[in-house]
C-alpha cells in the first residue's frame, strides 16, 4: 500500500463548482483578559480553533463531531462570520469574504445561515413566530411568505403557528421555526450547530429528517455539528472529527464511523453508548484510553491527542501530524492527522 500526505484542500470532489463554502487554515484564538500581574507577560489566548480546513458542497451534509469544547461551535460561528477569525480564509464560491459588518455582512448572511443548538434560547420569547419569520424575510428582501416557510418546514397548517409565541411550541416545533427563519434568507449553506441535541429523543429524528429533506430539495450545503457520532453516521455524507480545536480525521460517513483511523475517533466511537455492544466488551474502551481533554490555553505540543493516546510515539510529542490518507474503503477520501498513518510508521509496523 502506498500512503501519501493528502493535499490540505478539497479532496477530489465531484466538481469544484459544487463547493459553496470553504475554509482554509481557519484559526481562532480568544484572548484572555489580562490581569495586573500578567500585564507584561505575553498575551495568552484560548486556542479554540487551529488551522481548520473544510469544504461544504451543494447538496451534501458535512458532519463535524467532537467532544465538548473542541471548537465545533466556534467553527460554525466563524463560518457565519459572527466572530472574526484570527487567521485563515473563508471562501464563498471561491471568493474570499470579509464580511465583518454592515451591508456586506447582510449580503453574506443571505447566503450562509446558521441554526442554533438550543431552540428554547434561539427564539426571542417575546416575539411571535410571525415576527421572527417576517423580520428575516424583510431583511433579505425575500418574496416568500411566512406561510410558505412554515410549510417548507412541515409546520402545517401554517396559520396555526404564525401567531404563536415560542413558549407555546414544543422543542421540535421551535427548532423548525428556527430552521424556517434560516431558510427565509434563501441560503446556499446552512450551518447547523447541534440542532437536535437539546431535543427529546423522540422528536430529534423529525428535525434531522427535515434537514435531510431540505438538503435534497433545496440542494443546500449543510454543516451538521454534533457530538453524537451515531447521528453523524446516520445523517452525513462526510464526517469531520474535531479534537482540541483541530480536525483530526475526515472522510465519508461510513468510512469514519466504521473504520475509524485516528485513535481519538476510535475512543469516541468506543465510548458512545451502543445497545448492540455485548455487555462485558469493556476491554475495548480500556484499549483506546481515557483522560480528559487538554487545556486550550496551553495545548500540548505535537499531536494534541498524544497525552491521552495509547499509541503515542516519541514523534507525536514534538511534531504536529499533517493530514495523512488512510486506507480507503472506496467511500470517498479518508484521512487522519495521525503519525500512525505516516508512510514510515506504516512501513515500520509491517
Amino acid at each position: 500500500m502506498t500512503a501519501s500526505t493528502a493535499p490540505g484542500s478539497a479532496p477530489t470532489a465531484p466538481s469544484a463548482t459544487d463547493v459553496v463554502l470553504e475554509a482554509v487554515g481557519l484559526t481562532k484564538h480568544f484572548p484572555i483578559r489580562r490581569r495586573l500581574r500578567t500585564l507584561f507577560t505575553k498575551q495568552r489566548a484560548v486556542h479554540a480553533v487551529e488551522q481548520v480546513d473544510l469544504v461544504l458542497r451543494k447538496g451534501r451534509v458535512t458532519a463535524m463531531v467532537g467532544e465538548s469544547g473542541s471548537g465545533k461551535s466556534t467553527v460554525a460561528r466563524l463560518l457565519a462570520q459572527l466572530v472574526k477569525q484570527t487567521d485563515g480564509k473563508i471562501l464563498l464560491h471561491g471568493d474570499v469574504v470579509h464580511a465583518t459588518g454592515g451591508r456586506r455582512f447582510r449580503a453574506y448572511c443571505r447566503r450562509v445561515q446558521m441554526v442554533f443548538q438550543d431552540p428554547f434560547a434561539s427564539l426571542n420569547p417575546i416575539h411571535t413566530v410571525r415576527y421572527h419569520l417576517t423580520r428575516a424575510l424583510k431583511i433579505h428582501h425575500s418574496e416568500a411568505t411566512a406561510e410558505e416557510l412554515l410549510t417548507r418546514v412541515s409546520l402545517t397548517p401554517p396559520e396555526r403557528f404564525l401567531s404563536k409565541f415560542p413558549h407555546e411550541l414544543s422543542g421540535g416545533q421551535r427548532q423548525r421555526v428556527a430552521i424556517a427563519r434560516a431558510l427565509a434568507a434563501g441560503p446556499e449553506a446552512l450551518l447547523a450547530d447541534e440542532p437536535v441535541s437539546m431535543l427529546d429523543v423522540s422528536i430529534r429524528l423529525g428535525v434531522l429528517n427535515l434537514l435531510r429533506d431540505l438538503r435534497d430539495r433545496l440542494n443546500l450545503a449543510i454543516l451538521y455539528i454534533t457530538h453524537d457520532i451515531a447521528s453523524a453516521r446516520y445523517f452525513a455524507d462526510e464526517v469531520l472529527v474535531m479534537y482540541a480545536g483541530q480536525v483530526v480525521e475526515g472522510g465519508g460517513g461510513e468510512a469514519v464511523t466504521q473504520h475509524a483511523a485516528h485513535p481519538y475517533t476510535r475512543l469516541l466511537i468506543a465510548s458512545a453508548p451502543d445497545p448492540d455492544r455485548i455487555a462485558g466488551a469493556e476491554s475495548e474502551v480500556e484499549e483506546v484510553g481515557g483522560g480528559e481533554p487538554p487545556s486550550l490555553i496551553d495545548p500540548p505540543s505535537g499531536c494534541r491527542f498524544h497525552p491521552r493516546c495509547p499509541h503515542a510515539m516519541a514523534r507525536c510529542e514534538t511534531d504536529a501530524p499533517p493530514r495523512l490518507t488512510v486506507e480507503s474503503n472506496g467511500d470517498g477520501p479518508h484521512w487522519a492527522a495521525c503519525w500512525l498513518y505516516d508512510a514510515n510508521t506504516v512501513e515500520a509496523a509491517r
Partner: protein
C-alpha cells in the same frame, strides 16, 4: 432610604425570564402583592391628578382656627396659621408624585442607556461605563443630591427631579448591565445577528423588550428613592421644592415644633402618606420581582388546606395516602 431592598434583590441576576412562562399582563397582576401595590399607587396617582382640585381650601390661606385638631371644618386639622392641612396634603401630592415620576423616568432612561449599552458593548467603553455607574453607586447619594441642589442657582420641582434622576440611575444601570450581559449571550440575540439584524435593532427589539420587568423594577425603585429624597430635601428646607410637598409640610411642622405642641395631626398624615406610597411601590416591585423570579413567590398560594410546603420534606397528603 429603603431602596436597597428591592435592588439588592434584583442585583442578583434574577432567573432569566424563562421562555416557557406566559408573558401576559394579567399574570403579573394576578399576584396579590402587586395588586395591593397597584391599588395604592393608583390611589396616589389619582390624588396627584385630582387632589389639588378637590382641596376644600386654598392650602396657603390663613383661617381662624389656629393649630386646630382635626374637626368637621378641617379634616386633618390646621397649622399655626390656620391653614387647612387636608388641602395642603392634597395639593402636595402632585409635587411628590411628579418629582418621583420624573426622576424615575430620567433615572430609568439613563440607566437603560448606560446599562444596556455597557452590557451590550464590550471592551473599554463597556468597562468605563460600568466603572462610572459603580462610582455613582459608591458615592453617598443623599449628600450628593443635597450639595447639587443647593449649588443650583435656581431650583424648582423640575430641577430637583432632574438632579435626583441624574444621580440615581446607577442601580438601574448596574442591574440592567448584568441582565444585558446575560441576554447578550442568549442564542436569540446571536441568531438575530446571524439573520442580519442591525445592532440598534437588536438592542431595541430583541434585548430591551426582555428587560421590561427589570426596567420596571428599577423604575419603581428609583421612584421610591426619588420620593424619599425629595421629601427629605423638602424636610430639611432645601428651597425650590413645591410649597405643600409633604416634606415641606413636615418642615413646617418641625419648624413650628408641632410635636412638642402636641399637634400630631400636622405630622402623622404626611408621614403615613409617604409610607403608604412607599409601601405601594415596594409591593408593586415585589410583584415584578416575583414575576421575574417565580421562586420568590410566597407560599400564600400553595398553603391551602393546611398543607405546609417545606423544602426538603415534601408533604404527603393524608386521606388518600393509604388507599391503594
Amino acid at each position: 432610604m429603603a431602596l436597597p431592598t428591592a435592588e439588592v434583590m434584583t442585583a442578583v441576576p434574577p432567573a432569566a425570564p424563562t421562555p416557557t412562562r406566559k408573558r401576559r399582563r394579567p399574570r403579573f397582576l394576578g399576584n396579590r402583592k402587586a395588586r395591593i401595590g397597584m391599588v395604592l399607587f393608583g390611589f396616589f396617582v389619582l390624588l396627584a391628578i385630582f387632589g389639588p382640585m378637590l382641596a376644600p381650601y386654598d392650602p396657603g390661606e390663613r383661617g381662624d382656627q389656629l393649630l386646630a385638631s382635626p374637626n368637621g371644618d378641617h379634616w386633618f386639622g390646621t397649622t399655626h396659621l390656620g391653614q387647612d392641612l387636608f388641602s395642603q396634603m392634597l395639593d402636595g401630592s402632585r409635587s411628590v408624585m411628579l418629582v418621583g415620576l420624573i426622576a424615575g423616568v430620567v433615572a430609568t432612561v439613563l440607566g437603560v442607556l448606560i446599562g444596556v449599552t455597557s452590557g451590550y458593548l464590550s471592551g473599554l467603553g463597556s468597562e468605563s461605563l460600568s466603572a462610572l455607574s459603580n462610582v455613582f453607586l459608591v458615592i453617598p447619594a443623599l449628600p450628593l443630591i443635597l450639595i447639587i441642589t443647593l449649588s443650583l442657582p435656581d431650583t424648582n420641582d423640575m430641577t430637583i427631579a432632574l438632579v435626583i434622576g441624574c444621580t440615581s440611575w446607577a442601580w438601574g444601570a448596574r442591574v440592567l448591565r448584568a441582565q444585558t450581559l446575560s441576554l447578550r449571550r442568549r442564542d436569540y440575540v446571536e441568531a438575530a445577528r446571524a439573520t442580519g439584524e442591525s445592532t440598534w435593532r437588536i438592542i431595541g427589539f430583541e434585548i430591551l423588550p426582555n428587560l421590561t420587568a427589570v426596567i420596571a423594577a428599577s423604575f419603581i425603585g428609583t421612584v421610591i428613592f426619588a420620593v424619599l429624597s425629595e421629601i427629605t430635601l423638602a424636610f430639611i428646607g432645601v428651597p425650590g421644592v413645591s410649597e405643600w410637598n409633604w416634606g415641606a409640610i413636615l418642615f413646617w411642622a418641625q419648624s413650628q415644633q408641632a410635636l412638642a405642641q402636641g399637634a400630631w395631626w400636622w405630622f402623622v398624615p404626611p408621614g403615613l402618606a409617604i409610607a403608604l406610597l412607599g409601601t405601594g411601590l415596594a409591593l408593586l416591585n415585589f410583584g415584578i420581582d416575583e414575576y421575574v423570579n417565580p421562586r420568590l413567590r410566597s407560599s400564600a398560594g400553595t398553603k391551602v388546606r393546611g398543607v405546609k410546603m417545606r423544602v426538603g420534606f415534601t408533604p404527603v397528603l393524608s386521606g388518600k395516602g393509604d388507599s391503594t
